[in-house]
Symmetry: C2
Subunit: 454 residues, 2 copies
Amino acid sequence: MVQISVVGAGSVVFTGRLMVDLCLTRSLSSSTVVLADIDKKRLKMMYNLATKYAREMNTNISIKKTIDRKEALNGADFVINTVKVGGYEPTETERKLAENYGYYRGIGDRVSDYYGGIGAFHQLKLFLDLATDVEEICPDAWLIQAANPVFEGTTLISRETRAKVVGVCHGHFGYVDLLRTLGLKQENVEVRIAGFNHNIWLVDFLNNGENAYPTLDQWIEKKAAEYWKSAEYLNSPPWVAEQMSPAAVDMYRLFGLFPIGDTLRSASPWWYHIDLKTKQRWYGPTGGFDSELGWSMYLDLLKEVLEQLRVWSSDPAVALTEVYPPTYSGEQHIPFIDAIANDKEVQLQLNIPNRGTISGIPDDVVTEVPAIVGRNGIRAINMGQLPRRLMLHVMMPRMLRMEQVLQAFLDGDKKSLLLMIVEDHRTRSFEDARVLLEEQLGKSWNSEATKHYK
Amino acid sequence: MVQISVVGAGSVVFTGRLMVDLCLTRSLSSSTVVLADIDKKRLKMMYNLATKYAREMNTNISIKKTIDRKEALNGADFVINTVKVGGYEPTETERKLAENYGYYRGIGDRVSDYYGGIGAFHQLKLFLDLATDVEEICPDAWLIQAANPVFEGTTLISRETRAKVVGVCHGHFGYVDLLRTLGLKQENVEVRIAGFNHNIWLVDFLNNGENAYPTLDQWIEKKAAEYWKSAEYLNSPPWVAEQMSPAAVDMYRLFGLFPIGDTLRSASPWWYHIDLKTKQRWYGPTGGFDSELGWSMYLDLLKEVLEQLRVWSSDPAVALTEVYPPTYSGEQHIPFIDAIANDKEVQLQLNIPNRGTISGIPDDVVTEVPAIVGRNGIRAINMGQLPRRLMLHVMMPRMLRMEQVLQAFLDGDKKSLLLMIVEDHRTRSFEDARVLLEEQLGKSWNSEATKHYK
């Protein structure tokens, strides 16, 4: 009898999957789901789909919808945040502005939508507003923070509010691509992955209880070159191909642990990202997730899914359980809720304040680590020390950037925003950076940010 | 009756000044000074000068010389390290190699001699060897670390050995240039300056007990432009002109505290240092201490001083107290020794493990702060929090670079050295950086470094 409130329920990436997972989880079959989104049309579509799915699956799940966030939070035991403020279009415009000044694919950690616009302002503002509402309206609820930037966002909320926040992402499942490529069976393998969100590394890698890194080393030495000529590699979508790309192998050589999932995108060094040709060398024919090719494939996919959902939601003849087969999606939201609500202990990959889990990271910085979840909450598995070169050349610079983003946001500090751009490897002059920042802030959707950053 | 051992006694910058200060300090007039240097000729000259000076000043100071460092440490109460391994020439060659790849004035924090060559290897190796000798031979001695890099070196020694180490520098006296320019009298002014060595900031600035920052702000608003056209500014040597240059004003605006001394050089942002013309805009006609003009002025000055010392040491007719007037130099070595040895409490600007002195800096990172010194040792004055933007955009990146330098050195980690070069804003490609590193390591004086970094 738990209430799950989904804020940003119009998200085509998450909401469908969560409904499938929820319907499959019989111990949650009498839950209430409240879908909230400010886009009425999208919300209605999602509501229709969810209702239909729950009915087809013979559950007692009760589904509500609202455009009022505070109403959605009323009575919530779990709040899932999947909001992307303003959608992707403003980000695309900001990217084009930046490209005029030589920032190929825009500013911001080389990942297309990572910050969702200048200084991550819109996302962070929403996160803080939402968490403050949670504090007031449903202070005992868990806030499941799935919206990007998860690293900055979860750290911000955990520092600035008393909301019980946990960050989730699906990126760590990139290790499944690794196993498939190496020909290892998932049931024999044990992995532990740790770092910051979008910056996670394969710390433990065991096959039948034995260190499996030598198997990976052998694959690199003997099979990688061949694999990179294979149809499997050349035809995979970028988010799959990336995981075993030359970039992955090179990052492993440079930093001592194998990078997992979005790490290939956002923790990769600047010289992989000079232009499309360079990206293609590192990430395969698409140039990876964040190239103009890879990213438009992703945006097209989103459109396609949305179109499908539209058709399915409006055609009573479609059996949703046929087009959207009832198998667990792999997303962690529902398993987390089930573990807490029904004390079904489970190990998940979660973003929580570090508190000693990775050595050398401050307690109040959120790390992404394996953790045991049950009714009593979350217990991280201690990950010890990461390799020193990885810490000093990847983790600490990323942590510093997180602190800069949060400081600029919390202090409304425009100079700090500007310094972040100037410090980008590609910045040609202080003046370029200054003018670009003004141009970005001058866009209509940034009027609130313009007032905020002084 | 203390013994002061000076390692690297051939240094023309320090040794003369220290002798003057020592001879002036009557409570140390029966000290023993042991001068050690591997350059016999230089050592002999310094020995002759020191002996003559002590005699002219009617002191009982006993002066010895040795080319054997361990012998010098025998019986030492204080060890002063002023070594620059290999002198300046190799650094100049390394700089030229780097300039072939677009690194104007070479790699390494924009300061000509700061690291003394690739990875600071030669200096750090010597520091650690010396501190280990101190541990064994004179474990109760204070090791006064004046050789660069003071930040890396003092942190390294304090972490890796039990030697009682303290770092000293004279850079903080740059505040005297500030007072002179503002027309403030030193006796009315109280300053407290804090940060890392070569990265220090005017935290407290009081004139007759009142905050004097508004006086500085007024000068900037009303008088700076005129001052920058004055003969005083245009004709000053770079190390003086820098302190009140457009760079200083801009750094103050960017980071919220006024930069002091070498901070103008090594904590200034990359875009001041693109080429000579740009440097001249920020630092005046010489382009600052580290431009090709400023640095050659410094090297010429060193040569000139050396030549003078040669003449003076070999001409019995020269009265040293006339050519080198007996007034305190401002260096802190002798006041520190006097305070410890004779319990003459004094406030100095020292480099010591932070242990809470500046908020947000780990305990085992050496900070440069005001401290009270007496027989019981050193008590830092708590400096609290620095402005957040300064911390995140200047201090933390500098701290991270220190950690990278020490990690590369301690682990013999060539990839880490390489990553430091690649991360330089000016690096055009990974391959450029890789080839440059190999070229640097290939130089004859780097053969030991080549073995060390794998």
